[in-house]
């Protein structure tokens, strides 16, 4: 008994450690590469806008766009030169008076919808958004139907007089 509980604990600890190791591996960002491509050695540094409102709007929009080099980061988080360039694009376009939705469209026109970090809700992505709930609802319906049919099955069970008498006998015996 003791051996069993020790080996059980060791197994739990090992599984936990593997889980931590696996998730740590995933949080490492791979060096930016697009099938063997490279990033610039020196990104061009541009002066930031003096306008705090533009800076704030830039930051807000930058969080909504994906860095295509480090694809699991936003262009706000990423240090990749392309991210720097795109942030500068946003900044200068905002300064020129473009709206956020115009700038978003500018990016989508060039890079596709993948650049939107927040997946839009439209005809193509509707299935992804609603799908899980539909499947959940379907599973619940299936569950309810199964329970109901099982209940009916139990109600329809007919027992003969002999079986009932035997059952009473057994019950009397066990409940003194």
């Amino acid at each position: 008994m003791l051996n069993q509980s020790i080996s059980h604990r060791i197994a739990v600890i090992l599984l936990f450690a593997m889980g931590l190791w696996a998730s740590a591996g995933q949080s490492q960002s791979l060096p930016p590469a697009a099938s063997g491509a490279e990033k610039a050695v020196e990104p061009t540094a541009r002066p930031r806008s003096d306008n705090p409102e533009i800076e704030a709007r830039t930051a807000k929009l930058a969080v909504e766009l994906r860095c295509l080099v480090c694809q699991n980061q936003t262009i706000a988080d990423s240090d990749a030169p392309l991210a720097v360039d795109l942030r500068n694009q946003i900044r200068s376009q905002l300064a020129q008076g473009r709206s956020e939705s115009e700038i978003r469209q500018y990016m989508v026109d060039r890079y596709g919808e993948f650049i939107l970090y927040k997946p839009p809700f439209d005809a193509k992505t509707a299935l992804l958004w609603i799908g899980p709930f539909v499947i959940l609802a379907g599973a619940l319906v299936a569950l309810l139907l199964t329970i109901r049919s099982r209940r009916k099955k139990i109600q329809l069970e007919q027992f003969s007089e002999q079986e009932l008498a035997r059952a009473r006998q057994l019950l009397d015996r066990t409940t003194h």
């Binding site: 099938s35 491509a37 596709g112």
Partner: protein, 174 residues
């Protein structure tokens, strides 16, 4: 037997999705510009002081734009293929020198060979952004009307050149 059929069928469906999905490259971002006109640009020509060239200059010709840079190591892999391909003279091959300096670009071409009819200096990368460039190298094929017909992400390989680009150029030239 019927009891086992449904789960097995579902398993085959999942297997089918995995077979397709696991063979896809998740890092590849397909270009939304295929079938759309190439962005207009006007850029200085590498090595030719004061001369600039614009997108409309290529109208009426099928042409290839190869995005490269002297700091790009992966470009060295594909470069010999481009040098060889250029010798065939089957199509106009232009380079887009992306986020580079003219001195280093010229030195790189002197060292590795210059397959390009000319290279355009995109020092700030703005034209690159207009083309949807997100890594180097990338290669675009444009038809006579200036519509982007093909984009290859990453270094070119002999297979891509022979099986995709050459036939496409044949089609576009017909």
């Amino acid at each position: 037997m019927k009891k086992f059929f449904l789960p097995f069928a579902l398993f085959l469906v999942v297997l089918g999705f995995l077979a397709v999905g696991l063979n896809l490259n998740p890092r590849e971002v397909p270009s939304p510009l295929i079938g759309k006109p190439a962005p207009t640009f006007s850029l200085p020509v590498l090595g030719k002081n004061q001369l600039s060239m614009g997108s409309q200059d290529m109208r009426g010709k099928v042409w290839i734009l190869n995005v490269w840079a002297s700091w790009c190591v992966a470009c060295q892999t594909e470069h010999p293929l481009l040098v060889e391909f250029a010798k065939r003279n089957s199509v106009a091959l232009l380079g887009l020198n992306y986020k580079d300096t003219p001195q280093e670009a010229a030195a790189w071409l002197a060292r590795f060979g210059d397959p390009y009819q000319l290279s355009l200096e995109d020092r700030q990368g703005q034209v690159g952004i207009d083309f949807g460039v997100y890594g180097v190298p990338e290669t675009f094929v444009m038809d006579r009307d200036g519509i982007i017909r093909f984009k290859h992400i990453g270094p070119l390989t002999p297979e891509v050149i022979e099986q995709q680009i050459v036939p496409l150029i044949g089609q576009l030239n017909a």
